[in-house]
Symmetry: C2
Subunit: 422 residues, 2 copies
């Protein structure tokens, strides 16, 4: 223990302390190793973890700063703060009518014709005032936090014009400053071709490459660039062109890939050294092999399949067997998956993708850190790392997928501060 | 408005006030009628609803008692307090390891051999001290309340001996007295044949009929008697015998029927005038017709199919089309469905059973009242009825299934008192 720093927070008597210490990220059987310490304890100094180990060791050793907060986590589980690596949280209008049309058997075409679909969110984003959008997004961040998240990636992609994409990214960046959560901004101008360029997609691609990306990079508004690579959205060739330009401009890459069909998105993500490829319901065997080789993280989104009443989930077990780094996310968005709860995603991953509780927890901590390029900083509880910690009101970590649809979070600590609970 | 009573609570400016006024219970297309009032208001006097209508009317007319609480529900939805008509909340030991064995492909037999299954909950119930069981159950009731429930049915059935069945029922009755929720106790001694009578089931049936039922009735410990009618548990003939005895002793009836196979449980429930038959995944066409005719409520439990990774859900649409009264429940229990959230059940009903949001809300309010024989008392917001009210942090009731896995409850009012939220 670092003797020069005084503990400002200690958590003691932790029934199951899940440190995730060890390999980062984790593949294959490593995903089952939670670095679990029974009767564990954590000491935090400021924003940083000072000590992780057995509870009895902190009580005698840690020198406590004045006003040091002490949490007794007897019979409870403690994990790293969860990381959600794929969200679209900046919108105003919810789309519940469209959800009901879908469950009642209406087709995508009928929904689009009635004014639904992603274009409805584009209209909403463009029309809604900045301050309203920011307030609605903030409410969602508060809900993410209450379900145990301490960091989330947040995308633009409902603007689809220079001005309104920047509007979204500015909201994300401002909230990153003012909200206790950490947000990682991703530019997703290539989410769809907007109505005004439907008959001239080349021009829109040109705007993305020559106007939007430079503007985003100039003002440092995003860390990642993402694209929806899919039949009917952006082809593989268009995607390669856009993402190469993004990479050349200094942005890290993410892909929406192989969600509705196998189009080679996973392979392209691997080829371009993308940090992650997401969705992957229909990824090919070659795509799996390529991603395993390149170390591109597979961010799987079972909530989207669930919320679309889909039958087929991404082949998570196969990916794990083949050595792909697997992470999980809510895909929180107003169309295909409206939820801020990673715990329900963990239930879905267990029930529909056959992940164990340990694998699912790995997928929302250390592997999710890899999906946002933050390995070594967050997603693990190790000395010197950021003190992002979730305390759970359960005695065994396996309760997390099993006790479904409810909130078992007791407290959330963000950068050493109590951010949720008491 | 009753001028002699002063309002002790008013809720004003309600965006969507879902009264459920009108037919009770509701069948077929009636299930789509929420009795919705826009910009609604409710006045409550003591435990009773004084006025339901437009918001502008209460503000001038209702005479307010000193200290009258005023809730401004602008942009929010208000519904009757939810009713959960099928739960098994009295247990200590959770069974998360068994859940994981199941998702990892272990068979029912392998789980039973490793000490899992219902018998594990029977051992737990018998061994655990009364006060511990009561405390664990109370925690679950608090969670039910936080997800909008104001009344729930609660079963015994993990005791399977005179003494331990009564232990469970006493806990339920005591909590009904001390906890703000209303509990409706159900005797479920015929949940399974206990180990000690596996080779002599006739004797156990005799004990149920001649010892347990009389003891339960004598001390007024239960309002309902329930049974697990299924191949390998209690046959149709055994069920008829037990349930006829329960009926003769003055208990109302419920059945676990046609959950794993079509065995004629739905038909038997209808024949005996049972208040409800529950599960019904494999109900026959004849069973549906019989239930429609007898007015036996179908309590559907999609969370159980979900949590068992099942492919087949109860044929809800067919039942609605045929005029069966359909209700929904969590089936909260430590084996096949551990959740206290009716909202996640509503999401599952929409996604997997194709209920509309309106039908699902009907199924957890007025139709759930019918499943516990409380029509006219709860499940609707009408003058003179009990003031059990849930206020939701959403602008459109259709958000309830759509915004899944999170808690949108803002406040819960039980018998006119604020029981959750602020």
């Amino acid at each position: 223990m670092n003797k020069e720093k005084k503990a400002t927070l200690i958590i003691k008597n932790i029934g199951q302390l899940i440190t995730m210490s060890g390999p980062a990220p984790r593949i294959g059987e490593q995903m089952s190793d939670l670095g679990l310490i029974e009767n564990g304890g954590i000491a935090v100094a400021g924003e940083e973890i000072l000590y992780v180990g057995k509870s009895e060791k902190i009580e005698g050793q840690a020198e406590l700063a004045e006003g040091c907060r002490v949490i007794d986590a007897k019979g409870m589980v403690v994990t790293p703060g969860l990381i959600d690596p794929h969200t679209h949280p900046v919108f105003s209008k919810t789309r519940e009518k469209e959800f009901e049309m879908r469950t009642q058997g209406k087709t995508y075409m009928e929904i689009a014709e009635s004014g639904g679909g992603i274009r409805s969110s584009v209209r909403d984003l463009r029309e809604t005032e900045y301050v309203t959008l920011k307030e609605k997004t903030k409410e969602r961040l508060d809900r993410f936090l209450s379900y145990g998240v301490t960091t989330l990636e947040a995308k633009s992609g409902y603007g689809l014009s220079l001005e309104s994409e920047i509007k979204q990214l500015k909201i994300i960046n401002e909230l990153n400053e003012t909200h206790i959560l950490d947000l990682i901004p991703t530019f997703l101008g290539a989410h769809e071709v907007p109505d005004e360029y439907r008959s001239d997609r080349e021009t829109y691609i040109d705007i993305i490459i020559n106007e939007m990306i430079p503007a985003v990079v100039k003002d440092n508004l995003a860390e990642f660039c993402d694209i929806f690579t899919e039949d009917g959205v952006f082809t593989i060739e268009e995607s390669r062109k856009i993402m190469q330009a993004a990479k050349d401009a200094g942005l890290k890459l993410k892909f929406h890939a192989d969600e509705l069909k196998s189009t080679g998105g996973g392979e392209l993500a691997a080829e371009l050294g993308s940090i992650s490829a997401d969705h992957l319901v229909y990824i090919s065997n070659d795509g799996i092999k390529a991603m395993a080789k390149s170390g591109t993280v597979a961010v799987l989104l079972p909530g989207t399949t669930f919320s679309l009443s889909g039958k087929q989930y991404a082949p998570a077990r196969k990916m794990i067997d083949e050595g792909v780094i697997v992470a999980l996310s809510t895909d929180c968005n107003p169309g295909s998956s409206y939820s801020e709860s990673l715990p329900i995603i963990i239930s879905l991953a267990a029930l529909q993708m056959k992940l164990t509780a340990a694998e699912a927890i790995t997928a929302v901590t250390v592997n999710a850190a890899a999906a946002v390029d933050r390995v070594g900083k967050i997603g693990q509880l190790c000395e010197g790392m950021q003190a992002d910690i979730t305390v759970w009101n359960m005695a065994d970590y396996r309760e997390l997928p099993y006790h479904y649809g409810v909130n078992l979070v007791s407290q959330v600590i963000k950068k050493g501060k109590l951010a949720f609970g008491k």
